[in-house]
């Protein structure tokens, strides 16, 4: 009883590799992700986020889930001195940077609560794993080389952990420094390993937004291990990173 499939949700290819669960369980995780997209997308006029942004909802009227997402946004904004923000001046509210990791982590929780103990979910390059793909072996998570699309720069060995990468190579300079509103420079790729994808993904994005200062900042996050490539192609790696091959 296993399942493997990909769906395009939240604008992302989301792959589920479920070693001990069936298509019906995977569909529950996909269904949650579609719900999360409908609720949190700033690109959908009817979403809770869009309604809040238009002033049709007050903070008191929000669902606990959106309150949780906004609290995470606030915490990282505070922690980065505003480099990470869900509200770039002159633009609408956009909590996507937090929503993605948070929602995918919850999808993984749904799989786990449904009885699965061995799976890997990959949402646009952000990964949550559970258990082992086969006894005695970790999930081998390759980190894409920032310059060479079909090569890796490190392989992590992960059991019950999350890996997220923020990088410039595909979408152009898409991460803005909230302090200046300008695209961030200084780092090519930030990979963060943590127990929880909401933490890993947001830490990676926030580190990226800080530019070179993000290297030390991310390494200092207590629950995170990092692998960072700066624009001079130097690699910064914290010793606790679960390196499988490097």
């Amino acid at each position: 009883m296993s399942f493997r499939g990909v769906e395009q949700i939240m604008g992302l290819p989301i792959s589920v590799d479920l070693r001990d669960g069936d298509a019906a369980l995977a569909e529950r995780a996909f269904a949650w992700l579609r719900e999360a997209d409908a609720q949190f997308s700033p690109f959908k006029p009817d979403s809770e986020v869009s309604r809040l942004d238009r002033g049709e909802l007050t903070r008191e009227e929000l669902t606990p889930d959106l309150v949780e997402v906004l609290s995470l946004c606030d915490w990282y904004e505070e922690s980065t001195g505003g480099a990470f923000t869900a509200q770039v001046p002159g633009r609408g509210l956009d909590p996507c940077a937090v929503v993605k990791g948070w929602a995918v982590q919850r999808a993984a929780d749904i799989l786990r609560e449904g009885g699965a103990s061995s799976f890997c979910v990959n949402a646009g390059g952000d990964v949550v794993t559970a258990g082992e793909p086969e006894p005695g072996k970790p999930w081998r998570v390759g980190v894409r080389h920032p310059d060479i699309a079909d090569q890796l720069c490190v392989v992590l060995g992960v059991r019950d952990g999350a890996v997220a990468t923020s990088a410039l190579y595909e979408r152009g300079q898409h991460i803005l420094d909230g302090r200046t509103g300008r695209p961030v420079t200084g780092i090519l790729s930030v990979t963060v390993f943590a127990d929880d994808l909401a933490i890993a993904d947001t830490t990676a994005t926030a580190a990226f937004a800080l530019g070179k200062d993000g290297i030390e900042w991310a390494a200092a996050q207590e629950e995170c291990e990092v692998f960072i490539v700066d624009e001079d192609r130097r690699v910064f790696r914290s010793p606790g990173l679960p390196v499988h091959i490097c």
Binding site: G11, P13, R112, L152, D195, Q221, E222
Partner: protein, 158 residues
């Protein structure tokens, strides 16, 4: 559930970024009070409404601090004693220039001074390779990018 965030770990870890990016008025071995409300907020973990951090109004002066402290000697600074639901916490940070090289709790709820293992960064050269893998971490957002990605090849492999 995995998503639960260990409360105390977060409160201590949170101090580090706050101090790294502490506002201008913090000078010469003194941590301003700005860290305090942040710490109290963080003892709740950033998951609930009540945990929404109180605004410190901290303006980023990292660049400035770096310039000022680039050549500085090692120095230690004590943070404010913060009352948390677990007890009083006070952390001492050792800085080498603008880099934090050590953090230890000088007052912790269990009274024993505890040392926090800070990840010390190692620097190395970027390498490229191929290897057997189960999945790929990377910033893959567009469908075109996905089609050409290693991950797509893996997804289609079975």
């Amino acid at each position: 559930m995995k998503r639960a965030i260990p409360v105390l770990a977060l409160s201590v870890a949170g101090l580090v970024p706050v101090w790294l990016y502490s506002p201008g008025p913090a000078h010469e071995g003194e941590i301003s009070e700005v860290a305090a409300p942040e710490t109290q907020a963080q003892t709740q973990a950033p998951k609930t409404t009540s945990a929404a951090p109180k605004t410190s109004g901290a303006a980023p002066t990292t660049q400035q601090q770096q310039q000022q402290t680039q050549q500085a000697q090692a120095r230690t600074v004590n943070g404010p004693a913060v009352n948390t639901s677990e007890g009083t916490v006070q952390v001492q940070v050792t800085l080498q220039g603008n880099k934090i090289t050590d953090v230890k709790a000088v007052r912790a709820p269990n009274s024993e001074p505890t040392r926090m293992a800070l990840p010390i960064l190692k620097q190395e050269a970027l390498k490229a390779q191929s290897a057997d893998i189960d999945t790929v971490s990377g910033a893959t957002a567009t469908s075109q990018g996905y089609k050409q990605s290693l991950q797509a090849a893996l997804d289609g492999a079975q």
